[in-house]
């Protein structure tokens, strides 16, 4: 039920905002890595970077219990169907981050007539935030989580309690 501007037709006001605030601050990612970008994802969860600071550090092994899928790495043709299946197994409010050039557009493995990879996660599942880099630094992943939080609450991070248009 959405108009073209992106504003929902029916709004539950405070309840929706409270739910969105809670969702944005507890994005549990799936324990799921495809290639080398997953190493950066692990680094982002460990000391020095620590995704848990923003409430996004509870890596759940079961897709039923997580909110965020981080597509970290090259998607081979063989891995495509399982990826879609995992996405479909996640419970409803769910988001996807495409981490690294391979997940965005195939990266260095994409050339004319290649037969092995799917050039971009957005060809098979909806992607919310793209993080470029080969691989992106852990700071990049942290930034993408903050951007996703802004997207969920529809507010700027530093202006959490003031309404911002757009």
């Amino acid at each position: 039920m959405e108009k073209k501007t992106g504003e929902p037709l029916i709004s539950f006001g405070l309840l929706t905002e409270a739910l969105n605030l809670a969702r944005a601050n507890s994005l549990w990612p799936m324990t799921f890595g495809l290639a080398c970008c997953a190493i950066e994802m692990m680094a982002a969860g460990m000391a020095r970077f620590d995704m848990d600071r923003f409430g996004a550090g509870v890596f759940r092994p079961s897709p039923r219990q997580c909110d965020l899928m981080i597509v970290a790495g090259t998607i081979s043709k063989k891995m495509g169907p399982p990826l879609v299946r995992l996405y479909e197994q996640m419970a409803a409010p769910k988001w996807v981050i495409a981490l690294g050039n391979c997940a965005i557009s195939g990266g260095p493995f994409y050339y004319p007539d290649q037969y092995a990879i799917i050039p971009g996660a957005d060809l098979i599942i909806p992607v919310d935030v793209y993080v470029p880099g080969c691989p992106p630094r852990p700071e990049g992943l942290l930034e993408s989580i903050l951007v996703l939080e802004e997207k969920i609450t529809k507010r700027g991070r530093l202006r959490k309690f003031r309404n911002v248009k757009g």
């Binding site: 739910l19 000391a47 409430g55 419970a91």
Partner: protein, 324 residues
């Protein structure tokens, strides 16, 4: 309270007030414990843990709980529906009821039963049934494997747990938890029963399915174990029950070995909570420093080491009590 007493009669009023207090305690305790677990884990791994949601992440668990309530509840196609929906309730109710007999201070106890210990242990064994229900009903190979492991493990560890608790009971001569605390007026039982205390802590860790004995939900082999197919607040109830279980086993350890609510200066309830949370911190310390044991090691440890030791401890205690 007086109004309630007049309206409902003393017994019913006591039940109502007690149940409300228990539910409040369980929820607040679980919220606090999950935050504490994440902070302890983080500091053991040299990272700050939750920091941004509230002061040092203090409302992080509230955000998690609200999010879990707002999540979709998935019921997979081939599950055994009644059992699947019932399992989260069955795991949570006995945990709630165990609080009936725990003496939080000299006066703060809902019902001092003369079979208090047996009541708690009987309810604790119901947890296995719920885990088996969840695993079986999910119709998922990982869930079933997790449930089977959990049954084998809990049955094995319940025996030394019971026998270990028998030694202090033998010294007191009563199953009532209030009597056991009252008997520790001069010294704590951890001084006279150090082996029993150690055995109890090991068994309690296994009984609550926590690392290094967390084989029922070993995520590197079984996805999420018995609750793989549960989403949203149903999974949240399993989570809640696990942390409340931790509180109960720690409360039992406090009552049996650390003198319950006894302590100088502060009121009894504070001493009780301080001791309980100290033991919970110990359990968390185990979880984040020990690697997971293999399944055969787990079972061998229970049957070949813990049970003989517990029996030996009980025999020696009985002998000393007889000869004294």
């Amino acid at each position: 309270m007086e109004f309630l007493t007049q309206m409902l009669g003393a017994d019913v009023a006591r039940m109502v007030v007690g149940l409300i207090a228990i539910i409040a305690l369980v929820s607040v305790n679980a919220l606090f414990l999950i935050w504490m677990e994440r902070k302890v884990a983080a500091h053991m791994q040299l990272r700050p843990g939750p920091m941004e949601v509230g002061w040092h992440g203090a409302v992080q668990t509230v955000a998690d709980a609200v999010k879990l309530m707002g999540k979709e509840l998935i019921t997979p196609t081939d599950v055994d529906r009644p059992v699947y929906h019932l399992a989260p309730i069955v795991i949570f109710l006995p945990v709630l009821l165990s609080f009936l007999v725990i003496p939080f201070s000299q006066t703060l106890i809902i019902r001092d039963m003369n079979v208090g210990v047996l009541l708690i242990l009987a309810f604790a064994s119901l947890t296995v049934l719920a885990i088996l229900m969840a695993g079986w009903a999910s119709n998922n190979k990982y869930s079933v494997l997790g449930a089977i492991r959990s049954v084998a493990q809990t049955v094995a560890y319940e025996i030394p747990l019971l026998i270990t608790l028998m030694s202090p009971i033998l010294m007191v001569g009563s199953f009532s938890l209030a009597d056991i605390v009252a008997a520790q007026e001069r010294y704590w039982f951890v001084l006279t029963q150090p082996l029993a205390f150690i055995l109890y802590i090991v068994c309690a860790t296994a009984e609550t399915n926590r690392a290094p004995f967390d084989l029922p939900e070993a995520e590197s082999e079984l996805v999420a174990g018995f609750h793989t197919e549960y989403s949203g607040m149903k999974f949240g109830l399993f989570f809640l029950a696990e942390y409340t279980n931790m509180f109960i086993v720690s409360a039992l350890a406090t009552i049996f070995f650390l003198g319950g609510w006894r302590g100088p200066f502060l009121p009894g309830i504070f001493w009780f909570l301080i001791k309980v949370y100290a033991i919970i911190f110990l359990l968390m310390w185990f979880r984040w420093t020990f690697p997971r044991v293999r399944f055969d090691q787990l079972i061998t440890f229970a049957w070949k080491i813990l049970i003989p030791l517990a029996f030996a401890n009980l025999l020696i205690t009985a002998l000393i009590m007889k000869l004294r």
